[in-house]
Subunit: 354 residues, 2 copies
């Protein structure tokens, strides 16, 4: 993938909604924003990790907050550009590249819009290889990159620059600002030089999103079940198939949190799977026993189309397949588990890997 | 008053605790900080409003949060200096003077400490002529000064720079940061040029604090009752004398809020006065009817010594006198009442003036 234009947006959004593991926001609002920006400013140049020189100063940009809120509180291009510009001004540096902080419906497309509007190249990568709810839960932070200074902006023109002693405080203070801004805000954080980008980002995420989007889109290949195709591409497996029978969801402390219950169908008839989420799906339990948990990917797919079903749109009656897929191996270290394993989210258990 | 040295600190703190109208923080913690700074850096030069040239860039500095919390979470000189420095760095300007944002036990002495540590002159003035709980409730803001950019800092080294579209959002976002920092933080905000300082600040507040402190201190003149002396100096009157019989106080949304009940003694025997507060005393009702309300000053004084009794230390059994005194006349305008009258705090009533 050497450039992104209007025609690529829908596929990227669709694929990102799968890799977003329930979070990462609505691809529809991301698509609207990216499409508008690409129409106005032209296509975005996409670079591979190896194309990023040492002298780069690359800025991730994303929307943080509760996806339940983002459904109605749509981001603006101005707000996204302002986050990058305020961070650059605070740091007295000129950004050279835009980065994706995570894979997710909104958060894989916001950087496309930002890169278009800023006239900067975008790097075909992301910082998580999936989505996570907290801003310090990225591989760059795991590798020692400071998340702050970070700029948090709303659609009204308000901005907050956070500069902290560690990444834990970065999450706390940026989250407080995002909550006060209405539980959804743009953020630019965890600026990196070229060496850090090459070493700490997950390569090829935008290309992977586009590929997953094609496998599950209206022109998907007819010869393979789309759920199976996604599982194959992510080296994962379908661990449960059923019908959503209950969703307990609330917007709490700036996140969409809750539990979904899926009653088994077909081979899983008689079993029940419970999926617990904080923006992203974190733990999937079959009949009371964890089958898979964070940092590995738990994706809930529409059983018919393979489309990613996000936590904020889960509802009674949906026929879904629960897909488990391995996380980037860098998450499977003691430090990675401490930052984004079940205990980081309050579950007293070790990660259960695919 | 041309300079402030260690010997002046106790008087200023004592007087500021009266003008603080229940809020403004504990003079003891402010005294410790100011004394330490004056010992280390030497006395602070004090200028009158007329001494401030047009070219000045003067920065108010204060502690925001809940005084109930500040009793245990003491500010540091480093944190206060960092607030000024982070604001200056963000604005790419060099501060020329330190200002008092309000009159209050902590907030009249924090600027002394900051001026000493920064080697800058302090202006004998404040922005309210009393204390108010919210950062946009100053005469400069009333006169059109933007409260942001503002820098909010904690004692750990974390900082947040807030830059907003209006002063209402300044209060919201700075408050959110202060709450996340533990309900007490240093802030520098509402930077002013010399003309703004001269036109919009209340002159002589530090001198007045020192004078009130002498009238109520251990060496107070023996010929006059200290409560009467304070009332005379503030052109106010004692509206109630009694004993505190109940205090309902909570730390809520970053403020100390509550209600105190005072049973009348002597001439007020048989009557009860209720004082409602949000950090500061806002409304005093005698037997159900408001006697005085914000923006006029409601000061609760120890009946024996004239010492200011702050909202966070009110307790059963204290013998107190409720003093009402006129606010700076600039508060008694429709705009002043909208910003800091009873309705600004949720009371559906017009101000009751002394």
């Amino acid at each position: 993938m050497r450039k992104i234009d209007v025609d690529d947006v829908a596929d990227i959004g669709r694929g990102a909604a799968i890799l977003g593991t329930g979070g990462g926001g609505d691809p529809q609002s991301g698509s609207l924003l990216a499409t508008a920006a690409l129409r106005e400013y032209g296509p975005v140049q996409v670079l591979g990790l190896d194309d990023v020189e040492d002298s780069a100063w690359a800025l991730p940009v994303a929307i943080i907050g509760a996806p339940t809120i983002m459904l109605e509180k749509l981001p603006t291009i101005g707000q996204v550009v302002a986050a990058v510009q305020q961070l650059a001004e605070y740091a007295s540096r000129t950004p050279t590249h835009v980065l994706c902080a995570e894979a997710g419906g909104v958060n894989s497309l916001i950087p496309v819009a930002a890169a278009a509007a800023l006239g900067l190249p975008l790097v075909d990568a992301d910082a998580m290889g999936r989505a996570f709810p907290e801003i310090d839960q990225g591989l760059p932070a795991l590798g020692g990159v400071m998340v702050t200074p970070a700029a948090v902006t709303d659609e009204k023109g308000n901005g907050v620059v956070v500069d902290t002693v560690d990444n834990h405080w970065a999450e706390r203070l940026a989250r407080a600002a995002a909550i006060e801004m209405g539980c959804a805000a743009a953020i630019s954080a965890a600026a990196m030089n070229g060496r850090q980008v090459r070493e700490l980002m997950v390569p090829g995420t935008l290309s992977l999103c586009a590929e997953l989007g094609r496998l599950t889109g209206p022109n998907r290949p007819g010869h393979e079940d789309p759920v199976a195709a996604v599982a194959r591409r992510l080296s994962g497996k379908v661990v449960f198939t059923g019908k959503v029978v209950d969703v307990d969801r609330r917007t709490e402390k700036g996140f969409a949190r809750g539990v979904a219950r899926i009653a088994g169908l077909d081979a899983d008839e008689g079993s029940e799977t419970v999926v617990r989420f904080q923006n992203e799906f974190l733990v999937a339990e079959r009949d009371g026993t964890a089958m898979v948990s964070t940092p590995d990917l738990i994706c809930i797919l529409d059983s018919a189309t393979g489309a990613g079903v996000r936590a904020e749109i889960l509802r009674y009656g949906q026929r879904v397949s629960v897909l488990a897929a391995p996380a980037d191996p860098r998450w499977h270290t003691p430090e990675g588990h401490a930052l984004a394993g079940p205990r980081a989210f309050g579950y007293d258990a070790d990660p259960v890997r695919v």
